[in-house]
Amino acid sequence: MTTPAIHLHDVQRFYPRADETVHALDGVTLTIPTALTVAITGPSGSGKSTLLSLAAGLDPATGGRIEVFGQDITAMNEDQRADFRRENIGFVFQNYHLLPTLTVWENVMLPLVPIVADELELKARALQWVERVGLEKRINHLPGELSGGEQQRVGLARALIGEPTLILADEPTGNLDSGNADSILDLLFDLTSGGHRSVVLSTHDLSVADRCEHHVRLEAGKVVSSTLEEV
């Protein structure tokens, strides 16, 4: 049996608040094989974003174990998770999360800045990905000068510059109109196809979810249904 892309075992994430504890994830056990596209669906507050951020090691789990490509990321410290994330995972945010003072190509190369000393090489790789997402004419523009769709393309290029084997996209089309949403999804699947890459995206939009091979539905922090059980 091949190593799954993501394996969550009884994962919990609680957030203490003033009068209560929020159970964002409440004992989730889930296995996502490699080289698949999976949509995590559910209503708002069901834990979709939390699941992705835990899988990416952006947030520490309150309990349980999370393995990504066989590596237990819950046992790693923050720097180890950062290294793992940089080498294996590309994360696309709903709000794009671009650095406002950096240009398009500078934002794209951001993940590699601390580890690639040769600035020319860095720039060459960034330019390559800027061209692949169709923004070669906007290369020196700042995020504030781009549309939502263009900003998300930059986010996509940034997520892919490290050639990761796992792409996690948190509501990648959540802030886009339908036209831009379709083109972003087309780009996402086009850029990740044929490379044994796994794509896991969260969405509340069923039309977006239908473009993925599998669905996992969350409600109130629990998995209520999953087509992955058939794999």
């Binding site: 951020s53 952006l58 950062a82 994330r85 999360h97 650095l99 601390p114």
Partner: protein
């Protein structure tokens, strides 16, 4: 990382300018404080350097009665025997005595300084032969100790209308002017209007083997405080011992604080500067919390964040420190130009009615000192580095998602 840090500075100009201004201010204050302190210390040390002595001893007494030739003001006599006792002290290398008197003629006093021509290396005329920093024999020669000859301060000679070859009355005697001395704008301890052989002045005064200024050169390893205490014990009541450490407080309280308080001032600047810059850095980190979260999210380690912020602050420190040091030196120069410091009254042997001014003005000149510049630059940049690293650690301490959730 360096070019990345530079991009952040060049694109957030307002924030960077504030930080750079802070480092400029720190560097300016460090540079100005050090320059001023050193200038005052050097100015107050100069009179001793000019005379070639480490210590100057005088005795103050109640002013004596009127006489044709008398000791100035409240200067008391120090005997030759007392000088011999001082010469015998451990740590004392050489001792020279001078005698300054007022010699009246037609009711007008002339300040006459008696010096031993064999001990010129430690006396008010020490450097007259070198011609630098003190007294240059502009015309003529030094007096012959066996004759009634004198070397005059040129300003006094011009005022009196005499030159080389003329006769001038000093007290009840006439002296031939054989040389004219130009004092090069420095403060001279025991300086006079006329310089005569020491023994001649002692005869004029009529008190035997007496002096009123004693110049002492110490051994390099001498315990100055011990030597001072021993001199006090020999001279007794009225003894005043001046050294390069005690002169600033005799010049003025401000001079003493500037000369001796430089270390405290530097420490205070660094503490206040550090608090100010840490506050600025934390404010910057707070503004950039989401951005730092993004960097962590795409795979930057804590150490990378620390390095980035440390590099940014170091660059800002460097940009602020260089002009700050230059401006600080300029401010110190401006202050020194307008500051007027003089030797204390104990060293002023001129009567109020003297026809020429005594050489008492201390030269304040903040000379460019490479060590001082280096210290100011290094301390400012070190402050920048420490502030940046501290801010970086603070910035990197949050989990990425927590930073990204900030509004």
């Amino acid at each position: 990382m360096l070019s990345f840090a530079w991009k952040e500075i060049s694109r957030r100009r307002a924030r960077a300018a504030l930080s750079i201004a802070g480092f400029l201010l720190v560097a300016l204050l460090l540079s100005a404080g050090q320059s001023l302190g050193r200038a005052i210390r050097e100015a107050t040390e100069e009179p001793l350097k000019v005379s070639g002595a480490d210590l100057v001893v005088t005795r103050t007494v109640k002013p004596c009665a009127l006489a044709t030739v008398k000791r100035p003001k409240s200067l008391g006599a120090i005997t030759g025997e007392e000088i011999q006792h001082i010469e015998a002290l451990e740590g004392v290398k050489a001792v020279t005595g001078s005698l300054v008197v007022w010699a009246f003629h037609d009711g007008q006093p002339t300040v006459v300084t008696g010096i031993d021509p064999d001990k010129i290396k430690s006396s008010p005329l020490r450097q007259y032969q070198d011609g630098e920093r003190c007294c240059m024999l502009e015309e003529g020669r030094l007096f012959d100790p066996d004759k009634n000859e004198t070397v005059l301060d040129k300003a006094f000679a011009d005022d009196a209308g005499v030159g080389v070859g003329d006769m001038i009355p000093l007290g009840l005697q006439e002296f031939e002017v054989v040389g004219l001395l130009k004092v090069a704008g420095v403060a001279v301890i025991a300086g006079g209007q006329a310089y005569v052989n020491l023994e001649t002045v002692q005869v004029m005064l009529g008190e035997g083997d007496a002096y009123d200024y004693v110049f002492i050169t110490t051994q390099p390893e001498a315990d100055i405080q011990l030597v001072t205490d021993q001199i006090n014990a020999i001279i007794g009541e009225g003894c005043e011992v001046s050294s390069k450490d005690s002169l600033p407080s005799k010049v003025s309280r401000a001079a003493a604080m500037a000369a001796q308080g430089t270390g405290v001032f530097v420490g205070l600047i660094l503490v206040v500067g550090a608090l100010l810059m840490i506050r600025t850095a934390l404010s910057s980190v707070h503004e950039r919390v989401v951005e730092i979260g993004i960097m962590r999210a795409v795979g930057w380690r804590k150490g990378h964040i620390v390095r980035l912020l440390g590099t940014e602050m170091t660059l800002q420190g460097l940009i602020g420190a260089v002009p700050g040091v230059i401006l600080g030196y300029g401010i110190a120069y401006a202050i020194c130009t307008h500051l007027s410091l003089s030797l204390p009254s104990a060293f002023n042997s001129y009567p109020p009615c003297a026809t020429t001014e005594p050489a008492l003005k201390l030269t304040l000149a903040p000379a460019f000192h490479l060590g001082g510049v280096a210290v100011s630059l290094v301390l400012t940049i070190a402050l920048a580095v420490i502030t940046g690293l501290w801010a970086g650690r603070h910035a990197a301490s949050r989990p990425p998602m927590e930073s990204l959730r900030q509004p």
